[in-house]
């Protein structure tokens, strides 16, 4: 006879620091250097950008790999189903391109940038909880060929994203 209300926007657990520094995140100085001087980055120097919708994107040439952040998976809880976008679909920045579901919550996925979806992580069809255990690596969701790489400039770098998460928490 009870019902559940889940407060999503507030109360995001800010436990990201340890996790994020353990992944392949460049230093803040490095990230700014890349943004200022180069759009072409090598696989070793991929820059991670973040959206206000709690997605991340890393760039390798013109291929972007996209997933959801630690905070997003933490808020959702154990992920049981991922709706992956269609390979070959042309999408614009901000388009709804999929969903991530847990027992009690649904998170819509929005394209951080425009381009063509070239690959999806089919491993998630077998084990959606990869997003929980490895949100930045094994839990990647889709890869896109960017049509407008300059859109990356609209997104937040890691420092800005962490600050943004803090303001959402309060």
């Amino acid at each position: 006879m009870a019902a559940v209300a889940m407060r999503c926007a507030r109360g995001l657990a800010f436990r990201a620091t340890k996790l994020l520094t353990s992944t392949q995140t460049p230093t803040y100085y490095g990230a700014q250097t890349f943004r200022r001087f180069s759009r072409t980055v090598t696989a070793l120097d991929s820059v991670k950008k973040f959206t206000k919708d709690h997605e991340w994107i890393t760039l390798d040439g013109t291929t972007g790999t996209i997933g959801i952040t630690y905070q997003a998976q933490d808020k959702l809880g154990e992920i049981v189903y991922v709706e992956l976008p269609e390979v070959g679909a042309e999408m614009s920045q901000g388009d709804e391109c999929g969903a991530v579901e847990s027992v009690k919550a649904v998170g819509d996925l929005f394209c951080p940038v425009s381009g063509e979806c070239i690959e999806v992580n089919t491993a998630l069809e077998e084990d959606a909880s990869l997003i929980n255990s490895s949100p930045y690596e094994d839990g990647w969701i889709l890869k896109m060929k960017l049509s407008k790489p300059e859109e990356l400039d609209d997104l937040m770098d890691e420092e800005a994203y962490q600050a943004f998460v803090k303001t959402e928490d309060s």
Partner: protein
């Protein structure tokens, strides 16, 4: 991604909820509703926070939706072991007076007079249209009053209803009174296969003598005057324990510390997935003022004697519907792929809209999706293939018997 959350319409919008939103993703409680400071707190509020409870606003109460383990793990733990749910936000009342039974019968559909001493039943408040105002449990105590538990989301509505009807009843010269005791007692639901073993360590009497839906007043872990009712909302064996408000923490703490069992705290998140697996209705989602007990397949709550006497609100409508058969029925639905949440349109195989989902979630026990909804009666038979329209895509589903997970109620040795 936007972190929208699926939760029940019942949150802070009762009692008028009827139209289910097109998309099941809904409301950010945080932005729309009270700040933490304005929310009501149960006796276990600090206890929840100390144990890592993630607190949310539920109908104006600050309640834990989950703890560190997460909803799926907590759900499975309840089915395998035992969990405590704080349900102190629900409204506990007593009906006093010589005519107490007649009074409560005038509002409900059950055979309250036929209850044995210390036996209880699930029943329904109905309105003049035959719709369900709330579902509740009424127990006939051996202390001379009826013990009533109603939904937190309907608190204002139910209390006003009982009090106004009682005033009219008294005006007819009859003897009944309504006493709301929510401020004096907290309520804990201890549920799971090891619930009895855990509770027994704190109780002198033999709990095996209390069967499903029966109750007794016991001293629990040193706290006298606790009403222990063998019932719950999970489909498992379990107890709802009404405890004097200053000692709720003591009982909860004692249960968590029982060495021979592994009782854990659980929040409203697993409470909801458990009840859905058990095929139990959630007021505000699966039943409301516009659904009759016939449509909701809750006809068993309308006792034979009451049908014959036709003496409850909306009796005419309900009895007519029993004769004519309802145009829609509540059914269980199973599917795979994207879960269908409340508000999802149900289609027949040829794509015609035939109903709507009223509750749905992935089932942690069954590893598929379970849902409840209403479909046109012609499609209500178990096994009927359906389609669910989830985010523009049609997902295969079928009508399924409920409960989805077999019940384990204790009916005695």
């Amino acid at each position: 991604m936007t972190l929208t959350t699926v939760f029940f319409r019942a949150c802070a919008r009762l009692p008028q909820l009827r139209r289910i939103p097109e998309r099941a993703t809904t409301v950010f409680c945080a932005r729309s509703f009270s700040s933490e400071a304005e929310l009501k707190k149960t006796p276990l509020y600090d206890f929840h926070k100390e144990h890592g409870g993630r607190m949310v606003d539920f109908t104006g109460w600050s309640m834990p939706v989950q703890y560190k383990d997460g909803i799926g793990a907590s759900h499975l733990h309840t089915r395998a072991n035992a969990s405590i749910f704080d349900v102190s936000h629900m409204v506990q009342s007593r009906i006093h007076g010589w005519d107490g039974v007649k009074f409560i019968e005038s509002l409900t559909v059950g055979d309250i007079a036929g209850l044995r001493e210390n036996q209880g039943t699930l029943t329904l408040f109905t309105n003049d249209r035959g719709g369900i105002m709330d579902d509740l449990i009424v127990s006939k105590t051996s202390e001379g009053f009826l013990y009533v538990v109603t939904n937190a989301g309907c608190a204002e509505k139910d209390i006003a209803h009982m009090q106004s009807q009682c005033a009219e009843f008294q005006a007819q010269g009859r003897d009944a009174a309504v006493e709301v005791i929510q401020d004096q007692f907290g309520l804990l639901a201890l549920q799971g296969p090891s619930a009895a073993a855990a509770l027994q360590t704190g109780v002198d009497g033999d709990l095996s003598r209390i069967t499903f839906m029966c109750s007794a007043v016991l001293t629990v872990f040193g706290v006298p005057g606790c009403r222990v009712t063998r019932c719950g909302y999970t489909g498992e064996d379990g107890f709802e324990v009404s405890i004097p408000v200053d000692q709720v923490v003591q009982v909860a703490d004692s249960l968590l510390n029982v060495k021979s069992t592994d009782v854990k705290l659980a929040g409203l998140g697993p409470r909801d997935s458990l009840r859905l697996e058990a095929g139990l209705c959630l007021y505000g989602n699966d039943i409301d003022e516009d659904t009759t007990p016939v449509e909701a397949t809750l006809l068993w709550t309308v006792a034979k004697r009451r049908r014959a006497e036709s003496n409850f609100p909306g009796a005419g409508v309900i009895l007519q519907q029993i004769k004519d058969k309802p145009s829609r029925k509540r059914v269980g639905i199973t599917s795979k792929g994207p879960p269908a949440r409340a508000g999802t349109t149900i289609l027949s195989e040829d794509g015609t809209s035939i109903g709507v989902v009223t509750s749905g979630c992935p089932s942690p026990s069954l590893k598929k999706n379970v849902a409840m909804g209403y479909v046109q009666t012609a499609f209500a038979k178990a096994g009927t293939p359906l389609k669910l329209e989830v985010r523009g895509k049609q997902v295969a589903a079928q009508v399924s018997k409920m409960p989805f997970v077999p019940a384990n109620y204790y009916h005695g040795k």
